[in-house]
């Protein structure tokens, strides 16, 4: 219990530290979102100054930070100057959209990676393993940008899939089942991009962990005892490989909100990524901090979850930490 309370405490410290750091960095970059309006020839300087005054952009940094902390306490996470709404109200739908993309993608990637990695580990050295290694290497060296652009081109050329976006125009008029189908159709390309990017790393890690485990005496003994290969692989070896795999799972969960920035930006998926980019461009301070907080929160949650799972499954950790 002490273990977890310590982890929790330092998690909060990280959150606070990140928020301060982000605030300071945003303050370093000059300019604020009213500058674009200034270029409109119909706006006289007094109007702009008055608006800047109303939005409180002239207050010193520490006061701005305290004001923001207050709104966190009220569950608002600050106020967005550009959207004229509390940040939390902006973040949740976008975060939900991102999770809607990354959770299925991560799940499918893991569901594919574990069997493939396990099979590859068991076939080690043989042609199956070689083919697997070649394919994962090929995927590993394709940069994210290129993959997203190529999929976009594929969508344009073939017309099988919608070109970006999360829903089609007439979404609101569709029946429930059709709505679901529409979402799935829009999901295919961005999710494929994410899966193709995650797969090689996951497969390699699964394979490496299993190879290590398969070499241990305990597995050799079980094999000598005549335990069938598949049960050996998927029940015993996997369980023994839980430690590194659960850490990897923790990392996957941690990245759920932040891994898809490029894919979302290039494929117009209305998630947290494009919101962050737009907020950075708009110098919308509180939205940026809020989005950073969100992904930090998930990162810490992911790590905590991995630790918890490890704690429950790996007896060595329990005795170590007491």
């Amino acid at each position: 219990m002490r273990y977890f309370s310590r982890r929790l405490a330092h998690g909060l410290f990280v959150l606070a530290g990140v928020s301060v750091l982000s605030f300071v960095l945003m303050a370093l970059a000059p300019g604020d979102f009213l500058n674009e309006m200034k270029l409109d020839p119909r706006m006289p300087p007094e109007t702009v100054a008055a608006l800047r005054d109303r939005y409180g952009l002239d207050r010193p940094l520490p006061l701005k930070y305290l004001h923001w902390l207050q709104s966190v306490r009220h569950g608002e996470l600050g106020y967005s100057f550009a959207y004229n709404s509390p940040v939390a109200a902006l973040l949740w739908p976008r975060a939900r959209n991102t999770l809607f993309l990354t959770v299925p993608a991560t799940t499918i990637a893991w569901l594919m990676a574990v069997p493939i990695g396990a099979w590859s580990a068991s076939q080690r050295g043989r042609w199956g393993d070689r083919v697997c290694a070649a394919v994962t290497t090929a995927l590993l060296v394709v940069p994210e940008l290129l993959l997203a652009l190529a999929l976009l081109l594929f969508a344009v050329r073939t017309g099988y899939f919608p070109i970006g976006g999360m829903t089609s125009v007439r979404f609101a008029e569709l029946g429930n089942f059709e709505k679901f189908r529409d979402l799935v159709v829009h999901l295919v390309l961005p999710a494929s991009a994410l899966i193709l990017l995650m797969l090689p790393v996951l497969v390699r890690h699964v394979r490496a962990s299993l190879i290590d485990v398969l070499a241990t005496p305990f597995i050799q003994a079980a094999r000598a005892r005549g335990v069938p290969q598949r049960r050996l692989l998927f029940r015993d070896a996997l369980r023994a490989a839980a430690n590194p795999l659960l850490s990897l799972l923790g990392l996957s969960i941690a990245g759920l909100l932040s891994m898809s920035l490029v894919v979302e930006a290039l494929m117009s998926w209305p998630g947290l990524g494009p919101l962050l980019l737009e907020a950075i461009a708009a110098r919308d301070l509180h939205v940026v901090i809020g989005a950073v907080m969100c992904s930090t929160l998930l990162l810490l949650a992911g790590n905590l979850l991995a630790d918890a799972l490890l704690y429950m499954t790996d007896p060595r950790i329990r005795t170590d930490q007491g």
Partner: protein, 591 residues
């Protein structure tokens, strides 16, 4: 006997009296017949929706506080003004005001409002709403972005209610084409916004999360639904005050859907696939790609020619403190020399910019008023061809010379080297800067192109003055010079090369100040044109802005869209959204 008298005489009399008074009362309380505006456009059929795309999400639906273009586009579909500028003819026409008179000195406008109109929630409209609206816009505490538009001669316009359907406006001094002041000033519903206004919460009203019942306007559409990160849906206003020649109430469309499509490319792809019905201001390269499949596709493209936008390169002519910005100050000795700027203008290959950046769909400019502004452009401004010889000659007269390796040096022997900043999001400007850089290299100048994010860039140009040269563009909201006062007045906030001067820094800037002020208060349009022609001459000679090109306005729409008449003035495609209709019933399109 008494009963007989009652039945014969009194009762009918009583009944008659009752009938007359009750009937009279009924007559008096019946609403006056509606004063509809009859549109002269083609008669269409009702139904279906129109899908549009926007590069960003609207931030607010409040006409009082709106600042960004995206929100304004949505709001203008839900609001109406008293006098409107017809984007096609560029002349004013009647809107909510069905008639008006002007006093001989041009300072008093008396507007007669249409009767029997109702807001989109059914509430009746009258002069009280007009009074309330102007009161709000002019209230300094509210700090509306519209306020400055309504300040003439240093005084806000005076508004007075004459009767329930007549309003009087008083200007502090005569103001040229004052009717255009009313364009875009949305009339607000007093019954919904007076309460928040009195509680000082007007700025918070009508945000994106407002329920539809909380909003009302006099525009062709009213707010229906907002899906964050995705789209905003407007539905037809059943009480709209325009009708077509056949007597059917406008608008024809049932719904207007604005979808969020952040990138220009995705917008084009969606348009090609038929998921989006209208595209406005596409870039030239996208236009050409779309043009390739136009013949077999369901859409039609329009190249409307030069609009009101103009791009330019300008130098930092502020009084920069040599201690804080020594490099900039040093280079300003070159920038301040008019022959230097003229040499740069002579060396720039405008034709290459038109061809390589805009694929031929732009007009080269030597003055700041593009030919798209037919009424105001000064056609006698010289348009010399590009000539490196002439540029070199000009540089020689300014005391520059060349080293044996071709580097240009000034009178003191320093090599001419400077940087051009522009904003990273605008690919066309970066391309123009790249071409200019190569052109100036041929004169021996070493030029760096630096891209910055727009906000940072504007901060540097207008506040900290930490830049040397800059490529930017401006787009006037209206064709008249009054829309650009802040650019040309030396005290103006967008007097880009040296904003907010307390006194004009040069003789020609002082002359421009005088001319702009005079044209603003002169009623005679001939005299105004002469003043503004002279302004254009001065700009072309002294080159505070070295104008480059004016991009063509490129739009596209589905072929079956009726009454689509794109205009060169903003908003190019939706200015007559109430008249747009679908010729055939739409079947479901897209996945």
């Amino acid at each position: 006997m008494a009963r007989r008298i009652f039945a014969r005489y009194l009762a009918p009399a009583l009944v008659t009296v009752w009938a007359v008074t009750a009937g009279g009362a009924a007559l008096r309380s019946a609403p006056p017949a509606e004063d509809l505006l009859v549109s002269r456009a083609e008669v269409g059929r009702s139904g279906d929706q129109l899908v549009l795309s926007q590069s960003a999400e609207p931030k607010t639906l409040n006409p009082v506080t709106v600042v960004d273009v995206v929100s304004r586009t949505v709001i203008r579909c839900m609001m109406a003004d008293l006098i409107h500028v017809n984007r096609e003819t560029q002349q004013t026409e009647r809107a909510l005001a069905k008639a008006w008179t002007v006093s001989p000195d041009g300072r008093r406008y008396t507007l007669t409002l249409r009767r029997g109109l109702r807001f989109s929630d059914g509430h009746p409209f009258d002069a009280d709403d007009v009074l309330f609206s102007f009161h709000v816009y002019l209230d300094e505490k509210v700090r509306s972005s519209q306020r400055d538009q309504l300040v003439v001669g240093g005084q806000p316009v005076g508004v007075r209610k004459i009767d329930q359907y007549t309003v009087q406006f008083d200007l502090a001094e005569s103001y040229a084409s004052a009717e255009r002041l009313f364009d875009g000033v949305a009339i607000l519903p007093r019954h919904l916004l007076e309460a928040p206004y009195l509680q000082n919460r007007l700025a918070d009203a009508w945000g994106m999360r407002t329920p539809p019942e909380g909003m009302a306007g006099l525009g062709p559409f009213r707010f229906k639904q907002y899906l964050p990160g995705d789209r905003i849906v407007l539905e037809k206003n059943p009480y709209y005050w325009k009708a077509d020649r056949a007597g059917h109430r406008l608008p024809y469309l049932d719904n207007l859907v604005f979808t969020l499509v952040p990138s220009d490319e995705t917008q084009a792809m969606r348009f090609q696939a038929g998921e989006v019905d209208i595209v406005s201001r596409v870039s030239a390269d996208t236009f050409d790609v779309l043009a390739r499949t136009e013949r077999t596709a369901a859409y039609k493209l329009y190249d409307l020619g030069a609009g009101l936008d103009y791009s330019f390169v300008f130098f930092n002519l502020n009084d920069v403190d040599p201690k804080t910005l020594p490099e900039v100050a040093r280079r300003q000795t070159w920038f301040r020399q008019v022959p230097f700027r003229q040499a740069i203008s002579a060396a720039i290959d405008r034709e290459a910019i038109v061809r390589l950046v805009y694929r031929g769909r732009a007009t080269p400019l030597w003055g700041h008023v593009p030919p798209g502004n037919k009424v105001w452009v000064n056609r006698s401004i010289p348009q010399p061809a590009r000539s490196l010889e002439r540029a070199r000659g000009l540089l020689k007269t300014a005391g520059f010379s060349w080293k044996p390796d071709g580097t240009l040096v000034d009178a003191r022997g320093d090599a001419v080297e400077f940087s051009i900043v522009t904003n990273a999001e605008n690919k066309q400007r970066i391309a123009m800067a790249t071409i200019i850089q190569d052109d100036l290299k041929q004169l021996g100048m070493s030029v760096h192109v630096v891209t910055l994010e727009l906000r940072t860039l504007v901060d540097r140009v207008l506040k900290t003055h930490d830049y040397e040269a800059c490529v930017l563009g401006l787009g006037a909201g209206d064709a008249t010079p009054n829309a650009e006062m802040n650019v040309w007045l030396s005290s103006g906030g967008t007097h880009l090369w040296s904003p907010e001067q307390s006194r004009p820094a040069t003789a020609w800037e002082a002359e421009i100040d005088t001319l702009m002020r005079r044209q603003m208060t002169t009623i005679d349009s001939g005299a105004r044109k002469q003043f503004y022609d002279r302004v254009q001459e001065l700009v072309a000679q002294n080159l505070p802005l070295i104008c480059l090109v004016s991009p063509n306005v490129l739009v596209g729409a589905n072929k079956s869209l009726g009454n689509f008449r794109p205009a060169v003035l903003d908003h190019h495609t939706l200015w007559n959204v109430e008249e747009l209709f679908w010729r055939q019933k739409r079947s479901r399109v897209g996945p």
